[in-house]
Protein backbone atom coordinates (compact mmCIF):
# COMPACT_ATOMS: atom_id res chain seq x y z
CA UNK A 1 0.00 0.00 0.00
CA UNK A 2 1.20 3.54 -0.83
CA UNK A 3 1.56 5.89 2.12
CA UNK A 4 -0.16 9.19 1.51
CA UNK A 5 -1.94 11.94 3.38
CA UNK A 6 -5.61 11.39 4.10
CA UNK A 7 -7.23 12.51 0.78
CA UNK A 8 -10.61 12.89 2.41
CA UNK A 9 -9.42 15.46 4.93
CA UNK A 10 -11.79 18.38 5.41
CA UNK A 11 -10.41 21.93 5.50
CA UNK A 12 -9.94 23.05 9.13
CA UNK A 13 -12.93 24.81 10.64
CA UNK A 14 -12.70 28.58 11.03
CA UNK A 15 -14.19 30.61 13.82
CA UNK A 16 -16.67 33.34 12.92
CA UNK A 17 -14.22 36.19 13.48
CA UNK A 18 -11.48 34.60 11.38
CA UNK A 19 -10.85 37.33 8.81
CA UNK A 20 -12.33 40.21 10.81
CA UNK A 21 -10.11 42.77 12.49
CA UNK A 22 -11.24 43.23 16.09
CA UNK A 23 -11.06 46.85 17.26
CA UNK A 24 -11.94 48.38 20.63
CA UNK A 25 -13.85 51.10 18.80
CA UNK A 26 -16.64 49.07 17.14
CA UNK A 27 -18.84 48.65 20.16
CA UNK A 28 -21.56 46.84 18.22
CA UNK A 29 -19.38 43.85 17.44
CA UNK A 30 -18.04 43.69 20.96
CA UNK A 31 -21.47 43.93 22.60
CA UNK A 32 -22.57 40.79 20.77
CA UNK A 33 -20.26 38.80 23.06
CA UNK A 34 -21.61 40.35 26.25
CA UNK A 35 -24.61 39.22 28.27
CA UNK A 36 -27.59 41.60 27.97
CA UNK A 37 -28.62 41.03 31.60
CA UNK A 38 -25.39 41.28 33.55
CA UNK A 39 -22.91 42.61 31.02
CA UNK A 40 -20.40 39.84 31.68
CA UNK A 41 -18.23 38.53 28.82
CA UNK A 42 -19.12 35.08 27.47
CA UNK A 43 -16.56 32.30 27.72
CA UNK A 44 -15.09 30.26 24.90
CA UNK A 45 -17.57 27.42 25.30
CA UNK A 46 -20.39 29.85 24.54
CA UNK A 47 -18.92 32.04 21.81
CA UNK A 48 -17.11 29.26 19.96
CA UNK A 49 -14.12 31.40 19.02
CA UNK A 50 -10.54 30.25 18.66
CA UNK A 51 -7.93 31.07 21.32
CA UNK A 52 -6.43 34.09 19.58
CA UNK A 53 -9.70 35.77 18.69
CA UNK A 54 -11.26 35.16 22.11
CA UNK A 55 -8.28 36.82 23.79
CA UNK A 56 -8.38 39.75 21.36
CA UNK A 57 -12.10 40.23 21.94
CA UNK A 58 -11.71 40.13 25.72
CA UNK A 59 -8.88 42.65 25.69
CA UNK A 60 -10.85 44.93 23.34
CA UNK A 61 -13.93 44.76 25.56
CA UNK A 62 -11.95 45.64 28.68
CA UNK A 63 -10.27 48.51 26.84
CA UNK A 64 -13.57 49.87 25.53
CA UNK A 65 -15.03 49.71 29.03
CA UNK A 66 -12.13 51.65 30.54
CA UNK A 67 -12.05 54.33 27.85
CA UNK A 68 -15.77 54.98 28.06
CA UNK A 69 -17.00 53.42 24.80
CA UNK A 70 -18.94 50.51 26.23
CA UNK A 71 -21.00 50.17 29.40
CA UNK A 72 -19.77 47.68 32.01
CA UNK A 73 -22.70 46.27 33.92
CA UNK A 74 -25.14 46.12 31.06
CA UNK A 75 -25.36 45.88 27.28
CA UNK A 76 -25.97 49.02 25.26
CA UNK A 77 -29.77 49.08 24.65
CA UNK A 78 -29.16 50.22 21.07
CA UNK A 79 -27.56 46.85 20.31
CA UNK A 80 -30.03 44.65 22.16
CA UNK A 81 -31.80 43.54 18.98
CA UNK A 82 -28.63 42.28 17.26
CA UNK A 83 -28.66 38.78 15.72
CA UNK A 84 -27.51 36.03 18.08
CA UNK A 85 -23.94 34.81 17.59
CA UNK A 86 -23.33 32.94 20.81
CA UNK A 87 -24.57 29.51 21.73
CA UNK A 88 -26.73 30.61 24.65
CA UNK A 89 -30.39 30.09 25.52
CA UNK A 90 -32.12 32.81 27.50
Amino acid sequence: PIQMENPYKEPPKRCILCKINVDYKNVQLLSQFVSPYTGCIYGRHITGLCHKKQREVTKAIKRAQVFGFMPVVLKNPQFLTDPKICNIKY
Binding site: P11, D23, F67, G68
Partner: protein, 107 residues
Protein backbone atom coordinates in the same frame (compact mmCIF):
# COMPACT_ATOMS: atom_id res chain seq x y z
CA UNK B 1 -17.81 74.25 20.70
CA UNK B 2 -14.97 76.80 20.78
CA UNK B 3 -14.10 75.27 24.17
CA UNK B 4 -13.49 71.88 22.62
CA UNK B 5 -11.27 73.49 20.00
CA UNK B 6 -9.32 75.22 22.79
CA UNK B 7 -8.89 71.93 24.69
CA UNK B 8 -7.65 70.16 21.56
CA UNK B 9 -5.22 72.97 20.82
CA UNK B 10 -3.86 72.82 24.38
CA UNK B 11 -3.33 69.06 24.26
CA UNK B 12 -1.68 69.10 20.86
CA UNK B 13 0.63 71.92 21.95
CA UNK B 14 1.57 70.05 25.10
CA UNK B 15 2.32 66.98 22.98
CA UNK B 16 4.48 68.94 20.56
CA UNK B 17 6.34 70.47 23.50
CA UNK B 18 7.39 67.04 24.70
CA UNK B 19 8.46 66.10 21.23
CA UNK B 20 5.64 63.98 19.80
CA UNK B 21 4.79 63.92 16.11
CA UNK B 22 1.04 64.12 15.54
CA UNK B 23 -0.05 62.16 12.49
CA UNK B 24 -3.84 62.38 12.55
CA UNK B 25 -6.61 63.78 14.68
CA UNK B 26 -9.96 62.07 14.36
CA UNK B 27 -13.26 63.22 15.77
CA UNK B 28 -15.53 60.37 16.80
CA UNK B 29 -18.42 62.79 17.46
CA UNK B 30 -20.37 63.78 20.52
CA UNK B 31 -22.27 60.98 22.18
CA UNK B 32 -23.88 60.18 25.46
CA UNK B 33 -21.35 58.47 27.70
CA UNK B 34 -22.11 54.80 28.51
CA UNK B 35 -22.17 55.62 32.22
CA UNK B 36 -22.19 58.87 34.18
CA UNK B 37 -18.62 59.86 34.98
CA UNK B 38 -17.85 62.20 37.87
CA UNK B 39 -14.57 64.00 37.38
CA UNK B 40 -13.25 67.17 39.01
CA UNK B 41 -16.37 67.51 41.17
CA UNK B 42 -18.74 67.47 38.19
CA UNK B 43 -21.02 64.74 36.87
CA UNK B 44 -20.81 64.31 33.08
CA UNK B 45 -23.35 62.65 30.83
CA UNK B 46 -22.34 63.63 27.30
CA UNK B 47 -18.89 63.96 25.84
CA UNK B 48 -16.84 64.48 22.72
CA UNK B 49 -14.62 61.60 21.61
CA UNK B 50 -11.29 62.35 19.94
CA UNK B 51 -8.55 60.03 18.68
CA UNK B 52 -5.03 61.39 18.17
CA UNK B 53 -2.54 59.39 16.08
CA UNK B 54 0.94 60.13 17.26
CA UNK B 55 4.53 58.94 17.29
CA UNK B 56 6.38 59.56 20.48
CA UNK B 57 9.00 58.09 22.80
CA UNK B 58 7.41 56.10 25.65
CA UNK B 59 8.82 58.42 28.35
CA UNK B 60 6.13 60.94 27.37
CA UNK B 61 3.29 58.70 28.49
CA UNK B 62 3.39 59.26 32.26
CA UNK B 63 3.91 63.02 32.01
CA UNK B 64 1.07 63.35 29.48
CA UNK B 65 -1.31 61.29 31.63
CA UNK B 66 -0.47 63.65 34.52
CA UNK B 67 -1.03 66.72 32.38
CA UNK B 68 -4.34 65.48 30.97
CA UNK B 69 -5.48 64.37 34.41
CA UNK B 70 -5.10 67.89 35.72
CA UNK B 71 -7.07 69.39 32.80
CA UNK B 72 -10.66 70.03 33.95
CA UNK B 73 -12.17 69.70 30.48
CA UNK B 74 -10.73 66.24 29.85
CA UNK B 75 -12.99 63.54 31.29
CA UNK B 76 -10.99 60.40 30.55
CA UNK B 77 -7.61 59.94 28.91
CA UNK B 78 -5.58 56.99 27.76
CA UNK B 79 -2.78 55.81 25.48
CA UNK B 80 -3.05 52.78 23.23
CA UNK B 81 -0.42 51.22 21.01
CA UNK B 82 -1.00 50.94 17.28
CA UNK B 83 -2.31 47.47 16.45
CA UNK B 84 0.50 45.70 14.59
CA UNK B 85 -0.62 44.09 11.32
CA UNK B 86 -0.66 40.38 12.09
CA UNK B 87 0.60 37.79 9.60
CA UNK B 88 -2.44 36.10 8.09
CA UNK B 89 -1.56 32.54 8.96
CA UNK B 90 -4.54 31.54 11.02
CA UNK B 91 -4.42 27.71 10.98
CA UNK B 92 -8.09 27.35 11.86
CA UNK B 93 -9.61 25.56 14.84
CA UNK B 94 -7.74 22.31 15.46
CA UNK B 95 -9.71 20.06 17.85
CA UNK B 96 -7.71 20.07 21.09
CA UNK B 97 -6.97 16.69 22.68
CA UNK B 98 -7.74 17.30 26.34
CA UNK B 99 -6.32 13.98 27.56
CA UNK B 100 -2.97 14.59 25.92
CA UNK B 101 -2.91 18.09 27.36
CA UNK B 102 -3.50 16.78 30.87
CA UNK B 103 -0.94 14.00 30.55
CA UNK B 104 1.64 16.43 29.17
CA UNK B 105 1.29 18.65 32.27
CA UNK B 106 1.17 15.77 34.79
CA UNK B 107 4.74 14.49 34.16
Amino acid sequence: QPETAAVLKRTVEALMERGAVVRKLENLGERALPFKISKHSERHRRGWYFLIDLEAPPSIVSSMMDHLGRDIDVIRQGFVKHPVAQPEECPGMIPVDYEEKLRGRKK
